[in-house]
């Protein structure tokens, strides 16, 4: 849906400090940071030096007020995504749009909201549409400051005696945004005109009330108006709580103190971040690319130019310079595409931010000061920075999440080298499957669903422990799978099974955390559109130090099946696909079976009693699997996390019957492992020989599948630098291209 301007006018004019415009303040702040290397040019953090207790007290009080706003306001929402899973976040910003402090939640948006505020300032919203006390603004445009349109942001300016002293911001992940396909991670849009309701920093209220025309417009644009409305009230109520907390603080501490604090705390955070890098990491260069598949060649419902099988390429290169400055470079990323997975630099910066807050600076002041200490390079024209504004971003997360896995592994190499082994993680699990769709639900209402059980995939393995089973996702450290009952209230699908997904964690000395699976049955709806969203043809998250990637996903559904007869005759029905071969389902139910590795597709119709298996992925492994202790494997087998077959094939386990029970034969296992070590070496060749052979047999003759060829062609076209890297490694002349 295209944006139609809505004109709301109040008074206009400079709103900054001492009669200045916000734009002048922002430009000054940026100039000072560039010239001096310090936020606002601050050589010293005077307040922290002179009144450290007061400094800390003010920070804690503000942070507490934001957490309080989140925990209180989320109760207004009826959406399980917000209420159950906590897909929201509040942040307090300075007048120029730098975050001062934040609540818990989807931290990625603390920086994307900063970009949106700065957009309003740069484009002179003070003059038109005006920024006044009591105003409300809304944004969800990825090209301004966002990841995808379903993340909706509300902003409330905070005034004190006529001066704008900050902004309260909140984001919630809404159930549906009215895209061409239903749900909150739309897969199907190929241009922005299909991405749904776009609200590019729109003034949507005044005097603390939402404009009625805005409310009507949004309610008619989305498939889930009731959830939309309550989410918007959640965001607004929390922002107003934050505004009151700030005003209360100023009444007690004085406006001069507050103004000084919000300057000092940014510079303090910038310095702390650099200090922590120097304390925890190792300067150097780290390389950790990522890939994910997109299989739409056979999809006739897409425009012809979008029908292709292709692979995302995220050639992540991380640099930590001797001064402690961290850079992340995506040079070599392929061209943007006519698909739903493009990202903007705002999204990429936000993603880096959310990773750093969970790794390098989890227990210090977290705000945009750290942003001033990092650089991120998003090559123009690539999928991380499209050079047109018409790209679709419906499910930008699908490319975004795997592309940053390498940052975790790279940081972990540094943690290990520095001795902080307890911080090492092999990465994180891919956040799929997303059960997503829409139609007439079991309440006879038009609806859309995005099941957020994928907030609890398997965690990465560490040096000191296995990955957490069905635990979390990287983009929301407070993630939760939600209650079955809550999902069944909003989705016309019953849960007829939910269990740990055997063999889903990456194998290794430390095992990746297991995912889980849910067997769903369509219930009380004549027809409903559903799709699968997750990796399938590739491993999107590799392991580390000899650990392997977790299993990728698959598509399993049985339509027009004989479940009604099975229920009537009280025969066993499937509750999952225990051995991930489809037989756990197809041996019990007859019908039209979908079983393949095309794990991201477009919505298709499902009917009453149809079965849909939603598989949540595991985390990557760490270390040589032949060094995993038999005790740990026994625990895995008992817990249903590992099958005997994988224990034998991947871990070299030999079973024996002892006291009538199957048990691991330690002695024969050790012997078998010695044999496997020798066998693996016998199957290997010196790497230099392999490079020479691969060059001749595969690279020079371009003997590669079409998706892989397309990926190389795209990266080498967008980036001459990456093309040189490729040619140099394989010793190819400058004319070589795909």
């Amino acid at each position: 849906m295209n944006y139609t301007p809505i004109a709301h006018r109040t008074t206009s004019g400079p709103r900054g400090w001492d009669g200045r415009s916000l734009r002048d303040m922002l430009l000054d702040a940026e100039r000072l940071a560039k010239e001096t290397g310090h936020c606002f040019g601050l050589e010293r953090i005077a307040m922290k030096e002179e009144e450290p207790i007061r400094f800390e007290k003010i920070f804690s009080r503000l942070r507490g007020s934001l957490v309080n706003a989140r925990e209180t306001a989320l109760n207004i929402s009826a959406s399980p995504i917000v209420k159950e899973l906590g897909e929201l976040c509040f942040a307090l910003y300075g007048p120029e749009g730098d975050s001062i402090t934040l609540s818990t939640g989807i931290l990625v948006h603390v920086h994307t909201m900063s970009e949106a505020i700065k957009h309003m300032i740069r484009t002179n919203y003070e003059e038109n549409p005006g920024i006044n006390d009591g105003d409300i603004f809304i944004n969800n445009d990825p090209h301004i400051g966002n990841v995808h349109t379903a993340d909706v942001q509300t902003f409330v300016p905070i005034f004190w005696e006529g001066e704008l002293i900050g902004w309260a911001g909140c984001v919630t992940h809404v159930m549906d945004i009215g895209a061409s396909t239903p749900g909150s991670n739309a897969v199907g849009p190929t241009t922005r005109y299909e991405d749904g309701l776009t609200l590019p920093c729109v003034k949507c209220g005044a005097d603390d009330r939402l404009f009625r025309d805005h409310v009507y417009r949004c309610e008619r644009a989305v498939r889930t108006p009731m959830y939309w409305s309550l989410d918007e009230k959640t965001r607004l109520a929390g922002c107003h709580m934050i505004r009151e907390s700030v005003r209360s603080l100023i009444r007690e501490e004085g406006i001069g103190t507050y103004k000084q604090f919000i300057r000092d705390v940014l510079e303090d955070s910038r310095r702390s971040f650099i200090e922590r890098l120097r304390q925890l990491l190792i300067p150097g260069v780290y390389e950790a690319p990522a890939f994910i598949d997109s299989q739409f060649a056979a999809e006739t419902r897409l425009p012809e130019e979008s029908r292709k099988d292709t692979m995302m390429h995220a050639p992540m290169r991380m640099t930590i310079d001797p001064k402690g400055r961290l850079g992340v470079d995506f040079e070599g990323a392929g061209k943007w595409g006519l698909h739903s997975f493009n990202c903007t630099p705002s999204a990429m910066a936000g993603a880096l931010w959310v990773l750093l807050t969970q790794t390098v600076m989890p227990n210090d002041k977290v705000n945009d000061g750290a942003h001033y200490a990092t650089d991120i390079h998003c090559p123009r024209g690539s999928w991380v920075n499209p050079d047109v504004s018409t790209t679709a971003h419906g499910n930008a997360w699908y490319y975004l999440v795997p592309s940053f896995g390498g940052v975790i592994r790279s940081l972990s190499r540094a943690f290990y080298a520095r001795g902080y082994v307890e911080e090492v993680l092999s990465g994180y699990g891919h956040d799929g499957n997303i059960l997503q769709g829409g139609g007439i639900d079991h309440h006879r209402n038009e609806s859309a669903v995005s099941n957020f059980e994928m907030s609890c995939v398997g965690g990465g393995a560490g040096i000191v422990k296995d990955g957490l089973d069905h635990a979390s996702v990287v983009w929301n450290p407070e993630g939760d799978m939600g209650d079955i009952e809550a999902w069944e209230m909003v989705e016309p699908l019953l849960y007829i099974g939910r269990s740990v997904k055997m063999d889903s964690g990456g194998i290794g000395r430390r095992r990746g955390g297991a995912g889980y699976e849910c067997m769903r049955m369509l219930w009380n709806t004549e027809t409903y559109e559903l799709q699968f969203v997750g990796d399938g043809a590739v491993f999107s998250q590799p392991g580390i130090f000899g650990g392997y990637p977790p299993g990728s996903g698959y598509r399993l559904a049985v339509k027009n099946n004989d479940l009604p007869t099975i229920f009537q005759e009280r025969k066993p029905y499937p509750t999952g696909d225990k051995y991930s071969d489809g037989k756990g389902v197809t041996d019990l139910v007859k019908g039209e079976v979908i079983l393949d590795k095309r794990a991201v597709d477009l919505p298709q119709s499902y009917g009453e009693h149809d079965l849909y298996l939603s598989v949540m992925r595991g985390g990557p492994g760490l270390g040589d699997p032949l060094r995993r202790s038999p005790d740990s494997i026994e625990a895995d087998l008992r817990g249903g996390v590992m099958s005997p077959a994988i224990a034998e094939r991947a871990y070299g386990v030999v079973f024996a019957i002892a006291d009538g029970k199957q048990a691991i034969d330690r002695e024969r296992t050790e012997k078998r492992r010695r044999e496997m070590r020798e066998a693996r070496a016998a199957k290997a060749i010196p790497a230099r020989e392999w490079v020479a052979s691969e060059r001749e047999s595969r690279v020079v003759p371009k003997r590669l599948s079409e998706p892989v060829t397309d990926m190389y062609r795209s990266s080498m076209t967008v980036s001459p630098h990456w093309a040189r890297h490729f040619r140099t490694f394989w010793n190819l002349d400058d004319s070589f291209r795909f």
Partner: protein
């Protein structure tokens, strides 16, 4: 309060044998600034060779100072992989799983990647046959140089001391 941990605690931590509550406490606390030297000393005591460890480089791998001026990547077993500024993987053995059967060996039937899209490269120590690293990349992708530390800057600018000289222990 800046913590510091004794050697036995760090050894237990490295081996994953600390009670979870204690591990969690170490994770949540401010970091102990003397960790690097203590951990290097632990690693050094666990290997049979004498060259000083300059940096733990990965599980089983180290960057060490040779008696001459060379700084090389070395496995715990003693196998050497050459100058640390060159990619050690090129001196390793590699087994590439690039057929469906070879990938399927390690995964349940429906959870393996498609060999036309992706291969697994297993880098193996020629000395002890330990699996040191696994790459999951599309066929034709250049071998990854995972980590190129700036040793000089780390020692002189971050630790505030010179790199150990050749011949020291």
């Amino acid at each position: 309060m800046i913590p510091s941990y004794d050697r036995s605690t760090l050894e237990e931590l490295l081996d994953g044998n600390l009670p979870w509550a204690q591990t969690h406490s170490i994770m949540s606390s401010f970091k102990d600034p003397d960790r690097f030297d203590k951990m290097v000393a632990i690693h050094q005591s666990r290997v049979a060779w004498k060259e000083p460890i300059l940096l733990p480089y990965g599980e089983n791998l180290y960057i060490v100072q040779k008696a001459d001026s060379a700084r090389v990547v070395k496995c715990a077993c003693g196998q050497e992989f050459g100058d640390y500024r060159q990619n050690w993987k090129l001196e390793a053995l590699v087994r590439v799983r690039d057929t469906q059967d070879e990938i399927d060996e390690l995964y349940p039937k429906m959870m393996a990647a498609n060999a036309a899209w992706m291969q697994l490269r297993e880098f193996i120590c020629p000395g002890c046959k330990t699996l040191l690293e696994v790459e999951a990349v599309p066929p034709g992708y250049p071998i990854l140089f995972d980590f190129q530390p700036d040793l000089e800057a780390f020692y002189t600018q971050w630790l505030g001391r010179e790199l150990p000289k050749p011949g020291t222990t």
